[in-house]
């Protein structure tokens, strides 16, 4: 770490300091230094650029660019900031995409919503936002959302027309002779998720695939800005319903850091329990979906059966099965009824009863091996250069897991290890999914034992310890928070600011969220 600090210190920096245990935070004075710093960091071993996130400061007339570099192997991370001017024609910065291929989509996103131009980017096109926002840069402060939403019909027409134009262009480009055609796979295809893949095919051969991932873009950052920090929870948990607890957990940690509050050990352990349930619920769906896409529905049905038992636990705890809103800044939302632990043990038992069947029928399935063992291979180098995370990274043998790299909640009390596989194929990812399920069960068992012990010895008070008060007004500040959720690494960069007109007493915030998807 010290070496890293010295390395960054050789450049023209305003400050360079340690942040948390595994981060070095530094601010560059000149934007022209960025390429040099990035190259030095890459040579040092920080080969992954996780995300690029501008923050808008209209009063100071600047954008603050945040770059997050990670070394997936040795847990050394760097957070580099640099200011650029805010005017639309002057806000330019060097693109890091040629050096870090993983920066591609993040830079395109920053361009689409903030209008930051990245010079040297290979294909700087609009991305993620829907067509009616093209050229309007909605996340700049001062964008009038109400006025935009008032023209609903016009906006819809813009989207339709652009689809129509795209279709016409494709027809012209490809022509009617031969067997080439353009397929739109998704976004409403049951297997696609919210992704639209533009697949160009020649008969049965796929020539090119271009993803469009903006189908469910709902301007989350704006939604969170509109609400106070408790009301933002319900927007945050809807990042992904399958694993809603971990996204709230990530946000709650960021708020706590800014407010400067520590949660109780009981709440931390409850967060582990809820987080793992979220992971299991999502993984069961993922396991089922894997075979579902191969045309075998049985595992899906069986997995959903087991999943119900875990949803029961969530319902008993929070009153809702899917959108639980159960983790709040300051702890967990509800006190614990000790009977819940019995329900949880029942669910774990259900999984363990079914586990052998899952294992022998599906994991050792010869057909699955034939089809998936050589499909979609991702090497460890690709994982690093594209900054992949979660199951995808671990299936390629890269030992990365935020629960171990930067332990949050009560994961430092838990005995666990990296679950990895070797070859990085689709089959290996399924294998890791399965291993992680077993791991989650073991974590849950440890957590249950800890909770029972703590409650019996009087260390935890399940009725009172679940929450510490967080003041309604947050001070101005900035925090990043990372969790390992079922889809990999989730990072939230939260910036809070005091409002400028003093008559409005509520704290106004500029939140920012960036999820790293496991490809």
């Amino acid at each position: 770490m010290e070496k890293l600090k010295e390395l960054i210190g050789t450049f023209d920096v305003a400050y360079v300091e340690n942040y948390k245990k595994v981060w070095i935070k530094a601010k560059l004075n000149k934007a022209s230094d960025l390429l040099g710093v990035a190259q030095a960091l890459k040579d040092e071993g920080l080969k992954s650029l996780v995300t690029v996130s501008p923050t808008d400061f209209p009063e100071e007339n600047k954008f603050e660019m945040n770059y997050f570099f990670e070394d997936l192997l040795t847990r050394r991370n760097a957070w580099i900031k640099v200011d650029i001017p805010r005017e639309l024609d002057r806000c330019e910065i060097d693109s890091l995409t040629p050096m870090f291929p993983g920066a591609n989509w993040h830079e395109r996103e920053a361009y689409s919503v903030f209008g930051v131009k990245f010079t040297g980017h290979p294909e700087l096109e609009y991305f993620l936002i829907s067509q009616d926002y093209y050229g309007k840069f909605p996340f700049r402060k001062g964008f009038d959302w109400k006025a935009h939403e008032a023209n609903l019909i016009e906006n819809m027409n813009t989207i339709f027309e652009s689809f129509e134009n795209e279709h016409v262009e494709n027809e012209k480009r490809i022509g009617h002779a031969g067997s080439r055609t353009m397929l739109n796979w998704g976004p409403t295809h049951p297997a696609s998720g919210p992704i639209r893949l533009k697949v160009e095919v020649d008969g049965e051969d796929i020539i090119s695939v271009k993803p469009d991932i903006g189908y469910v873009w709902r301007a989350l950052e704006h939604l969170v800005e509109e609400k106070d920090f408790i009301g933002a929870l319900v927007a945050l948990e809807r990042i992904c319903f399958m694993d809603n607890t971990n996204s709230m957990l990530c946000y709650a940690q960021a708020v706590e850091e800014i407010a400067g509050k520590e949660i109780t050990p009981f709440a931390a352990m409850m967060r582990v329990v809820l987080g793992e349930i979220g992971r299991i619920v999502s993984h069961l769906m993922g396991m089922g979906g894997f075979f579902n896409n191969m045309g075998l529905m049985t595992l899906f049905m069986w997995a959903l059966d087991v999943r119900e038992y875990f949803l029961d636990v969530l319902e008993d705890y929070s009153g809702a099965r899917i959108a639980t809103a159960s983790i709040e800044p300051g702890g967990v939302r509800y006190p614990l009824d000790v009977n819940l632990l019995d329900t949880l043990e029942k669910a774990i038992q259900k999984y363990e009863d079914t586990r052998t069947e899952f294992y022998t029928i599906f994991l050792k399935n010869p057909t699955m091996k034939m089809r998936a063992a050589k499909t979609g291979i991702i090497t460890a180098e690709e994982v690093e250069s594209f900054a992949l995370c979660g199951i995808v990274a671990r299936a390629s043998g890269v030992k990365t897991d935020i629960r171990l790299d930067e332990p949050y909640a009560a994961y430092d009390k838990i005995d666990m290890d990296y679950m990895t596989a070797e070859n990085g194929s689709a089959m290996n990812r399924f294998e890791v999914l399965f291993k992680e399920m077993d791991q989650s069960m073991s974590i849950l068992k440890q957590a249950i034992a800890d909770l029972r012990r703590g409650i019996e010895s009087g260390e935890y008070d399940p009725q009172k310890d679940h929450m510490v008060k967080i003041p309604k007004k947050l001070p101005a500040g900035e925090a990043i928070s990372r969790v390992e959720w079922s889809r990999g690494e989730l990072m939230i960069h939260l910036v809070t600011q005091d409002t400028i007109p003093p008559e409005d007493q509520s704290a106004k915030r500029q939140p920012y969220h960036d999820g790293r998807a496991p490809a």
């Binding site: 609400k227 929870l233 319900v234 927007a235 008993d316 009153g319 959108a323 939302r333």
Partner: protein, 180 residues
């Protein structure tokens, strides 16, 4: 052979006549009744202090405040269930103790299954406030106002009397001084 047939007949009759466990009529019974179940709201207008907190925190703006012809505590929440996402933050933030004025934990689960809903109003939770309650509250307020006014006049009378007394005393003192 004969026994087999008897066994089969027995099994089929049992299957047909016995109530199957998996079938629960969800229109009338919750599949899993839990204490925290977040369902349809109940609004207790007598507990409500009209602080507007639930309206402020609602993340989807499902709550509007109904105005009452009163001076204090003159707003009561109404919930649009078609917009509500049942997050329960309104209940969390409600300051009344020990019972909450707006409650959805342990609420009804059958609101969307009980028959056909031809009327949009079925998806609103109104606090049905009887006129008698408003009248009584108005009377209370009127009584409080009268009491306050009486107290005020009394206070004023006392103050005036005191002033007069003081003035008289002063005059007396002056008179005394003049005489001396």
């Amino acid at each position: 052979m004969f026994i087999d047939i008897v066994k089969k007949v027995f099994r089929v009759t049992k299957a047909v006549t016995q109530k199957r466990q998996a079938v629960v009529d969800v229109r009338h019974h919750a599949v899993r009744p839990t204490a925290n179940y977040r369902g349809q709201h109940t609004v207790d207008y007598e507990l409500c202090i009209g602080c507007d907190s639930c309206n402020k925190i609602c993340p989807v703006h499902a709550i509007t405040m109904q105005h009452l012809p009163l001076k204090k505590q003159n707003i009561v929440p109404e919930v649009n269930l078609a917009v509500c996402i049942f997050c329960g933050l309104c209940e969390d933030v409600c300051p009344t103790t020990p019972d909450k004025a707006i409650k959805l934990s342990g609420g009804r689960f059958d609101m969307l299954t009980g028959g056909l809903h031809a009327n949009q109003q079925d998806f609103w939770v109104h606090a049905d406030i009887p006129q008698s309650y408003i009248d009584s509250r108005l009377e209370e307020e009127e009584a409080a106002r009268v009491k306050k006014e009486l107290a005020k006049t009394k206070r004023e009378a006392i103050a005036a009397a005191k002033k007069a007394e003081e003035a008289a005393k002063k005059a007396e003192d002056n008179n005394d001084g003049a005489q001396k």
